[in-house]
C-alpha cells in the first residue's frame, strides 16, 4: 500500500527562514561579506576550491558564507553550481617548475638551488592562542618585510637533482598515453590508472586522505618517505582556443605541490631507484598535498609488484570513499523518511520474537 505523506511544506519553508536567521546570527554584530571571507578566511576558501574542484575564490567564499562555515556543505554547493556551467576548454598541463614561488622547502636537501623559502606558514608559530587577534582595535595593517631581490625565476624541482643522477625513477610523459581520465564525465573504473587516482585524490576529502596517509606512516603500507619538496605559489593556466590555434594565458591559479621521495625499487634489469609519490591541489593546502603524495605512492603498489594488503593500497577502497560529497550524501540519506521500510522491519522482528517465545514455551512444557 502506498501512503502519500504530505504536510511538510510549511515546516520546510519555515526551516529555511530559521536557517537564514541562524546563519545571520546576532544582528547587532556586523554581517560578514564574501570579500572578507575570501581575504581573511583564505585557507577555508582554498579547501573549498580544491575539494569543490572549481577554482573561483568569490564562488567558494559565497559557498562558505551560505554554508555557515560548514566546509563540506560549501564543497557540495560548489559542486552543484558546477553543473550549471558549460566546459569551454581544457588547459595545457600547468608547469609547476615555472611557479611564482611563495613557499618552497625541502626536507631532503639543505642546500637547494633557489633556497629554502618558508613563505606564509604556521609551522614555526607557537600554536598559542593570540589574543591580539581578538582585541577590539583589531590587528591594523600588518606589513611583511620585503626582500631586496625577487626569488630566482623558474625554480627547478628537487626531484630533478636525483633524476639527473638516475637515482629516482624517471617521470616523463608517455607519448602514446590516451586522454587523461575525467571523473566529471566518466564513472569510476578499475583497475584505475594514476591519472584517475590523482584526480580523485586532488578533490578527495582532506580528512580522509590525511588519515590514509597517516596510516601508511604507521605501518599500514609503509612508504618510508622524505618530503623531497613542498612548494606553493601561482602558476599560469594556458589554453589553446580552437578559433585561435595558439596558446594563450587565461590567468593564474595558486596551487600547492608535494614530491615525496620513497624507498627503492629495482630488479635484475633495473638498478635500485627511489620511487615517487605526488600531490597537487588548488590553493594553499599543504597538509592535503603531503597526504595525497603518501597515498599516491601507496596506491602504486600494483605497479611495483607490491602486495596490496593495507587500506591505503587498495584503490577501490580509497577511490570509492575519498569524495566527501558522495560520502556525506550517502550517510545523510539515512535522515530521510524510511517509515515504510522501518514498519517492515518492525513487523519482521515482532514475528521473530513471537516464534522465539513460542519455542521457549514449548521447550519449557517438554
Amino acid at each position: 500500500m502506498y501512503v502519500a505523506v504530505k504536510g511538510g511544506e510549511r515546516a520546510i519553508l519555515n526551516s529555511h527562514e530559521l536557517i537564514a536567521e541562524t546563519r545571520r546570527g546576532d544582528t547587532s554584530v556586523p554581517e560578514v561579506s564574501t570579500r572578507q571571507i575570501s581575504e581573511q578566511l583564505g585557507l577555508a576558501v582554498d579547501r573549498v576550491m580544491a575539494e569543490g574542484s572549481i577554482y573561483d575564490r568569490d564562488l567558494a567564499a559565497l559557498a562558505v558564507k551560505q554554508a555557515q562555515g560548514d566546509l563540506v556543505e560549501a564543497i557540495f554547493l560548489l559542486r552543484a553550481y558546477r553543473t550549471t556551467l558549460p566546459r569551454l576548454a581544457v588547459s595545457e598541463p600547468v608547469d609547476t617548475a615555472q611557479m611564482l614561488v611563495r613557499r618552497r622547502v625541502s626536507a631532503a636537501y639543505k642546500d637547494i638551488p633557489g633556497g629554502q623559502v618558508l613563505g606564509p606558514t604556521y609551522d614555526y608559530t607557537h600554536r598559542l592562542l593570540d589574543f591580539a587577534l581578538a582585541a577590539e582595535e583589531g590587528v591594523g595593517e600588518p606589513e611583511a618585510p620585503v626582500g631586496e631581490a625577487p626569488l630566482d625565476a623558474g625554480m627547478p624541482h628537487v626531484a630533478d637533482i636525483l633524476d639527473y643522477e638516475g637515482l629516482i625513477e624517471p617521470e616523463i610523459p608517455d607519448e602514446d598515453a590516451s586522454e587523461p581520465f575525467d571523473l566529471t564525465r566518466e564513472p569510476m573504473s578499475f583497475p584505475a590508472d594514476r591519472d584517475q587516482r590523482l584526480q580523485n585524490l586532488a578533490r578527495g576529502d582532506e580528512g580522509f586522505v590525511l588519515a590514509l596517509g597517516y596510516s601508511t606512516q604507521r605501518g599500514f603500507g609503509g612508504t618510508h618517505p622524505f618530503a623531497g619538496e613542498i612548494r606553493m605559489g601561482e602558476v599560469s593556466v594556458e589554453i589553446v582556443p580552437e578559433e585561435l590555434g595558439f596558446a594563450i594565458d587565461i590567468g593564474d591559479v595558486v596551487v600547492s605541490e608535494c614530491h615525496m621521495i620513497n624507498q627503492f625499487e629495482g630488479s635484475a634489469e633495473r638498478p635500485p631507484q627511489f620511487t615517487r609519490g605526488y600531490g597537487l591541489s588548488f590553493g594553499h593546502n599543504e597538509r592535503k598535498v603531503m597526504a595525497m603524495a603518501l597515498v599516491d605512492r601507496a596506491l602504486r603498489a600494483r605497479e611495483f609488484g607490491e602486495a596490496a594488503v593495507y587500506p591505503a593500497q587498495d584503490e577501490e577502497f580509497v577511490l570509492y570513499h575519498a569524495d566527501n560529497v558522495e560520502a556525506a550524501g550517502f550517510v545523510s540519506h539515512l535522515k530521510l523518511p524510511h517509515y515504510v521500510d522501518f514498519q517492515a522491519e518492525l513487523g519482521l522482528i515482532r514475528k521473530l520474537r513471537r516464534e522465539f517465545e513460542e519455542r521457549q514455551q514449548k521447550d519449557a512444557a517438554e
Binding site: I54, L88, V94, E148, L183, V255
Partner: protein, 156 residues
C-alpha cells in the same frame, strides 16, 4: 617557410597582450576604455559567456597529464566596423571585463596598435610585473640563510 615564422611571431605577440588583458582588473580596462580618445563601435560576435576550463597537472610534475580540477573562465568575441575581430578568455566570471579585453584585443590588431600598446597594455603589464616582484620579494625575505656552527668560528 618565411610566412609560418611570421605567423608564429604574430601569434606570440598577440598571446602576450591577450595574457596581459586576461590578468587585468575590470577597473583597469574600464578606465583605459573611458580615457580612449576615440571609442570605436563594435558588434558582438560572441556575447560574454562564462564556463569552465579543466585545469591539468602532470603526475610528478613532469609525467603524464591528469585532470586537477576546473576553474571559471569568461570568453567574448567582438568585431570592429573594419572587420577586425577580437577575442578574450579571462579567468573568473566578469563579463564586462571579458568584453573590454576582446575590444582591446581587436584594437591591437589595427592601426591603433602603438597607441593601445603604450597607453593600455604597457602600464597594465608593468603593474602586473610589479605585483609579481613584490610577492616574490616578500617570499625572498623568508628565505633561510644557513650558516654552519663551527667551534670557535661563530658568526660575529
Amino acid at each position: 617557410m618565411m610566412r609560418s615564422t611570421e605567423t608564429a611571431e604574430a601569434n606570440a605577440a598577440r598571446a602576450r597582450w591577450m595574457g596581459v588583458l586576461a590578468r587585468a582588473t575590470r577597473d583597469e580596462l574600464e578606465s583605459a576604455w573611458s580615457t580612449l580618445a576615440e571609442r570605436p563601435s563594435y558588434d558582438m560576435l560572441r556575447r560574454p559567456e562564462t564556463g569552465l576550463v579543466m585545469v591539468r597537472g602532470r603526475a610528478g610534475g613532469t609525467g603524464n597529464p591528469f585532470n586537477l580540477g576546473e576553474m571559471t573562465v569568461t570568453r567574448c568575441a567582438v568585431r570592429l566596423p573594419d572587420g577586425t575581430t577580437g577575442t578574450s578568455y579571462a579567468a573568473g566570471r566578469d563579463q564586462r571585463k571579458a568584453e573590454l579585453a576582446a575590444v582591446f584585443d581587436a584594437l591591437m590588431q589595427t592601426g591603433e596598435r602603438m597607441r593601445i600598446e603604450s597607453g593600455v597594455i604597457t602600464p597594465i603589464a608593468r603593474r602586473q610585473q610589479t605585483d609579481r616582484d613584490l610577492k616574490s620579494r616578500k617570499a625572498a625575505a623568508t628565505k633561510v640563510e644557513f650558516f654552519t656552527m663551527v667551534r670557535g668560528d661563530n658568526p660575529k
